[in-house]
Point group: C2
Chain length 333, copies 2
DNA sequence: ATGAAAGCGCTAACAA
DNA sequence: TTGTTAGCGCTTTCAT
């Protein structure tokens, strides 16, 4: 920068002003500085700027695990919004382990990020509280009590499974089973929505929750059990798309046609559900919108760090595809 | 830091030494400093450190697009190795657009990363050359001429399709078609491998390349064309798994059984191929190993920035699943 | 509109 | 082993 100043015949303060295009520089000096910078291939040092300004225009994003396509889309929305506003994203993952998540978070803080966005974090609540005290923090896809001074973006998972159940009831189904997500992040919410919707429809007796998980194998095993029973359901609501695909395999093994002999619904409307070969009716969460909302929340909180914690709830939608159809006549109850 | 020094009754240089656990501090001072830091909740400022040290221990990773699970695994390998060595990852994506990729790269440079890893970048060659002059750079999954002063990690895609063809020939197939990947990154290499393997087996006349793409729809359309022809192939090699799944849909529509009436092979051994419901024979690339190799390459180059450009080639493997089987008797030629 | 000087929080080189 | 003194490359007063 000093070399640019010399070449342009001005002071380095002036160069600094030009670099951040301040309006109060004469056109003559601005041009001279820009020209010199160009010729020297000058590149501003953001490290030095961060130290002087005491802020980095950087957001730390902690992701539960990179493999889940759900996160990729959230980041898309986040990045788009952040980029527009001149922020950069520092992305890290704890690869599913709480202690690694803590390390990543600490590293963000040491790097003096201006805020953190935690995507479905599994660290203890106390860690979240600590983070919220240090920096603007947004927590995504994690249910439970609000964390003081942190904002939270979640989908209404109960409403999601409710949508699914109502769709099935509309098709004439009554014996609707649910494959539970086990330890999965939103498994509890999804199950509660299912149970409530069944109860509201007067189908309390037919409630059937089969233990499972958010994995392929979990869905497969659970569906096996359901089909082996005396009165198999005519429709099944899986905890997520992955489990639904596992269930699909079980149906195939039993020679059952999906959408005809039995209806199946997933959750997440992931890429999998959209594959024609699979064509799974599924509950969609507005992922990139969630990312945008998270950035907005961050901005609001940086403007006013002491505002009270908020919870932003977004509504899921049902996307109907080939895996659901009318209750087969005579089947089930 | 100065407050830590005061509280511990030492100079700030000493605190600095303790923070970077230098061996040349007395146990007494070390303890005092650690205790003071603990009590004050002191957190080192990596920005300031970076400015003073003129290096950041940060690697900029540019990803072609976050949605492709291929990249997630590469990053896993990279992150693991980097973490072990005390490096952080700054992840950015150009979301498939060259100009955005350039922006991200420039932003990495302004942030003074110690190196960049470019995963399947689409920017022009001149941009790569420019990056390599500024900082240690590693280019992954991009074929073509070596870039001066940059190292490159690729898989031998020609060998990959060759493996696939040889597997099919071993099962008795001769009429083996290839669905081309179109503009996709490694499409050309894959096609060349297919053609060479066919020629080597004396099946030159049966070479059939159907234009397609690396997408679901591309695979679907191409397979439609193949099946509509007079002499449909008995085996098909798709450009990647996604296209293979699209092809699967077409087979289903024609009432053909995969692995029996027709054999199908994908490429990438992605998550999709592993789903039992799909069970696709596919060519696997050692993704996380590629990530580790990339980090190694970065380290070697930072140690010696002027070494000549190298190309690290990793070998693919064939993973056989249910989508391939013996040529049906009497079918095809 | 422009410049001089101080300082951001750390490390590095040298001295003690 | 420990402390002192300069920077690192910027931004930010405060003058002019």
């Amino acid at each position: 920068m000093v070399s640019v100043a010399e070449r342009a015949g001005v002071s380095k303060s002036l160069v600094s002003l030009v670099m951040r295009d301040s309006p109060r520089v004469s056109d003559a000096s601005r041009e001279a500085v820009l020209k010199a910078a160009q010729e020297l291939g000058y590149r501003p040092n953001l490290i030095a700027r961060g130290l002087a300004e005491k802020r980095t225009r950087t957001l730390g994003v902690l992701i539960f695990d990179l493999h889940n396509p759900f996160f990729a889309e959230v980041i898309d929305g986040l990045q788009e919004q952040a980029h527009e506003d001149g922020y950069r994203l520092l992305i890290g993952t704890g690869r599913g382990r709480a202690e690694e998540e803590e390390e990543v978070l600490e590293s963000f803080l040491q790097q003096r990020v201006d805020g953190v966005v935690l995507l479905s974090p599994i660290v203890e609540r106390s860690v979240l509280l600590g983070a919220a005290q240090e920096v603007s923090t947004v927590i995504m896809a994690r249910h439970g009590k609000l964390v003081a001074h942190a904002d939270s973006v979640v989908t209404d998972d109960q409403a999601g499974t409710r949508l699914a159940v109502e769709h099935l009831i509309g098709l004439g189904h009554e014996a609707i089973a649910h494959i539970d997500g086990g330890e999965g992040a939103s498994a509890l919410e999804r199950r509660l929505g299912y149970e409530a919707a069944m109860a509201d429809a007067g189908l309390t007796e037919l409630i059937r929750v089969e233990p499972g998980s958010f994995t392929d194998e979990g869905g497969h095993a659970a569906m096996q059990v359901l089909l082996a029973g005396e009165e198999p359901p005519t429709a099944v609501l899986a905890g997520n798309d992955l489990a639904a695909v596992g269930a699909l395999t079980a149906l195939e093994e039993h020679g059952l046609r999906v959408g005809e002999d039995l209806s199946l619904i997933g959750y997440d409307n992931s890429y999998l559900a959209r594959i024609p070969h699979i064509s799974l009716t599924s509950v969609a969460q507005p992922r990139s919108e969630m990312g945008r909302l998270a950035f907005d929340a961050f901005k609001r909180r940086s403007a006013n760090p002491n505002r009270r914690a908020t919870r932003i709830v977004v509504e899921p939608k049902l996307v109907v595809r080939g895996s659901t159809g009318p209750r087969p006549s005579g089947a089930g109850r």
